[in-house]
């Protein structure tokens, strides 16, 4: 065996340097246009932000190195904890959409279901809509005086709040829209997972007299766990980066007094960096967001590994 493969191996060894030589400068011609852009606009900015986070910026520009001062200030800043809490609340609500998406996706994948592609388009529509444009109508729907949501709630005898301008409710309103817009994407990912479950398992379950609910619990959910896990990761990381929807629905502090208590982490970053122009402080916030998302990802991969090995 070994003697037979040796000549081949040698040939490959001889082949490799020749290939290298033949490609010559070509690979660099292919890679450099992208690489220059990536280096200038992504890699360098990452290093620079890390440095910025150690500097304090003057009102008229110019910055001085102040070491960990920004971080000391940040960890003593109640706004950080409020932003973190708000982001967690938002994430918690949007994550409720995942079990809902599992259920809806399994209904959508009912074999032979008519209008399935029509339903799929409807559920996916919010995902492709421009956040600022669709937020405009959500602001009307949530309006405390003439919004249709409160009108419907009144039908059930509930007096709806001023959603957009009441602390707490403002964030819930944003989370409802967040859930609405991400549901379709989760359903599609889960749907792809559902299609990979062999039909024989359902046949066997049915022969054993399992009800549809029992089939869902004992066949669908366990076999779908990898997809569910993936959707959870995407949803949580996406929710931690909440900005567009919040800005588009709630507006800025000049138009909505509830903003300072409702900031998400990224809105807090934007506020400090581009409204208050405190770029050193904002850089420190960005680094904290980076670390938090890194930790979330790590924890999730740990959990995933454990789950995989138990399987």
């Amino acid at each position: 065996m070994t003697t037979e493969t040796l000549p081949k191996g040698r040939a490959a060894l001889r082949e490799r340097p020749r290939l290298l030589k033949r490609d010559g400068a070509w690979p660099w011609l292919f890679v450099l246009p992208l690489l220059i852009g990536i280096a200038v606009f992504y890699l360098w900015p990452i290093i620079q932000t890390a440095y910025f986070s150690l500097t304090t910026w003057g009102v008229f520009g110019g910055s001085t190195f102040t070491g960990v001062a920004n971080y000391v200030r940040l960890f003593a800043d109640p706004q950080l904890y409020s932003a973190l809490g708000n982001t967690l609340l938002y994430t918690g609500i949007v994550v409720l959409g995942v079990p809902l998406a599992v259920w809806l996706a399994s209904l959508l994948n009912t074999p032979g279901l008519r209008f399935a592609s029509f339903y799929r388009v409807l559920f996916f529509l919010p995902y492709v809509a421009m956040p600022t444009a669709i937020a405009m109508v959500w602001r009307i729907i949530f309006n405390g005086d003439f919004g249709i949501l409160n009108y419907v709630l009144k039908g059930f005898g509930i007096t709806g709040p001023y959603w957009i301008s009441t602390p707490g409710f403002a964030l819930v309103a944003v989370a409802i829209v967040g859930l609405w817009s991400s549901l379709g994407f989760s359903m599609i990912i889960l749907g792809a997972g559902l299609k990979s479950i062999p039909a024989e398992l359902y046949e066997a379950a049915e022969l054993d007299g399992a009800t549809p609910w029992r089939q869902f619990r004992s066949v669908t959910v366990p076999l779908l766990t990898p997809s569910i896990f993936f959707v959870l990761i995407i949803t949580i990381i996406g929710s931690f980066q909440l900005f567009d929807l919040q800005y588009a629905i709630l507006g800025s502090p000049t138009t909505n007094p509830v903003i300072p208590q409702s900031l998400s982490l990224v809105y807090f970053f934007y506020q400090q960096g581009f409204v208050s122009n405190d770029k050193g402080y904002a850089a420190a916030i960005a680094m904290v967001i980076f670390v938090i998302i890194g930790i979330v990802t790590l924890v999730q991969f740990r959990l995933q590994k454990r789950w995989v090995s138990n399987d």
């Binding site: 070509w26 011609l29 292919f30 890679v31 992208l34 990536i38 200038v40 992504y42 890699l43 360098w44 900015p45 990452i46 620079q48 932000t49 910025f52 809806l104 209904l107 959508l108 009912t110 279901l113 339903y119 388009v121 409807l122 559920f123 919010p126 995902y127 809509a129 421009m130 956040p131 600022t132 444009a133 669709i134 405009m136 009307i140 729907i141 249709i148 009108y151 609405w180 817009s181 549901l183 559902l194 299609k195 024989e200 046949e203 049915e206 990761i233 995407i234 980066q241 900005f243 567009d244 929807l245 588009a248 138009t255 581009f274 850089a283 916030i285 960005a286 980076f290 998302i293 990802t297």
Partner: protein, 318 residues
């Protein structure tokens, strides 16, 4: 929403940079056909089928209506008068259709300037990403050169960094180049994409080598091989890249908000954001503007529905 696209991109790469590059089995049409036929046979039994489908239709119908409602409501509002929008008992249909609201958009807002900016930055970013990412992705997948592993790792490492981390510095760069409030400044960082490179590298890794070798024997140079042989074969992944880039570029808010301050140089996403909470604007006109701003992407989605859904799901699953 834009967030989700970029996040899907990020986690996709995070989930495993060396992930098996084959199309995920669930999407394979052969599997799908066989599976659903078998299941259709199973549910074809009398009595059962009707019942279970009724539940699915009711739930999906109600859910689908709730999904579509904001769009429908926006259409109704865009054709109403401001008084009708603000009346305490909702007007589910305007007394007279106010088509003039659409004309007012062009008179009171710099809509055409913003539309032009949105189209320009989206088209140029998409073309640039396709060109740069396929070139680099091909080299990373199919060429051997010194430092390839390190360069690739550097590019892919960006996928793990949230965008806030490079935003401040990107802003400083664009400001330094004197490009604030310009189209070039708006599109600049978005011309380059680590996600696109990852996607295209995976696509090329997946293609057979025989054609390439045949072309090489015929004396084609590497660029000719890439351009004439390999690029056409990568069409499905290029479509995925184009769709995700168009969606992201058209809908993105934070970057345009930061680099454009006067309303005539903004794209639509940021332009609409300036109207939030503005008490003087008239609601129906804002609704009409929002609908028109979303329309190009929604039409693209409805025309290409399967391709967009499968493409985004595919980019998410990678």
């Amino acid at each position: 929403m834009t967030n989700n696209v970029s996040v899907a991109r990020t986690s996709a790469a995070l989930s495993d940079p060396e992930l098996d590059p084959t199309m995920p089995p669930p999407v394979s049409p052969k599997n799908r056909g066989a599976g659903s036929r078998a299941r259709a046979a199973r549910t074809a039994r009398p009595g059962r089928r009707h019942g279970s489908h009724a539940v699915a239709h009711v739930v999906l119908g109600v859910g689908g209506f709730l999904m579509a409602f904001p769009f429908l409501w926006q259409i109704v509002m865009s054709l109403s008068t401001n008084a009708e929008v603000q009346s305490v008992t909702p007007h589910f249909w305007p007394a007279h259709l106010q088509w003039s609201n659409y004309a007012t958009v062009f008179e009171t807002l710099p809509f055409l300037d913003q539309l032009r900016t949105s189209i320009l930055i989206t088209v140029i970013r998409t073309l640039a990403q396709i060109l740069l990412c396929t070139l680099a992705g091909y080299a990373f997948a199919r060429m051997t050169f010194k430092g390839r592993a390190i360069v690739l790792a550097l590019v892919l490492s960006i996928l793990m960094v949230p965008s806030q981390v490079y935003l401040i510095s990107q802003y400083q760069l664009v400001q330094g180049f004197g490009l604030l409030n310009t189209i070039v400044g708006l599109m600049l960082p978005g011309l380059f994409s680590a996600f696109g490179t990852f996607l295209m590298r995976t696509a090329f890794l997946n293609l057979p080598t025989e054609l390439e070798e045949a072309a090489r024997l015929d004396g084609a140079n590497p660029f000719q091989i890439f351009w004439k042989v390999m690029l056409p074969l990568a069409r499905p992944s290029i479509n995925v890249l184009a769709i995700t880039t168009v969606l992201w570029s058209w809908n993105e808010l934070l970057w345009p908000l930061v680099v454009s301050t006067n309303s005539t140089s903004m794209p639509l996403s940021a332009g609409l954001a300036t109207l939030i909470g503005d008490k003087t604007t008239d609601y129906p006109v804002v609704m009409a503007a929002s609908l028109m701003a979303m329309a190009p992407v929604l039409i693209m989605f409805i025309v290409l529905q399967r391709r967009v859904i499968d493409g985004l799901a595919f980019s998410g699953l990678k």
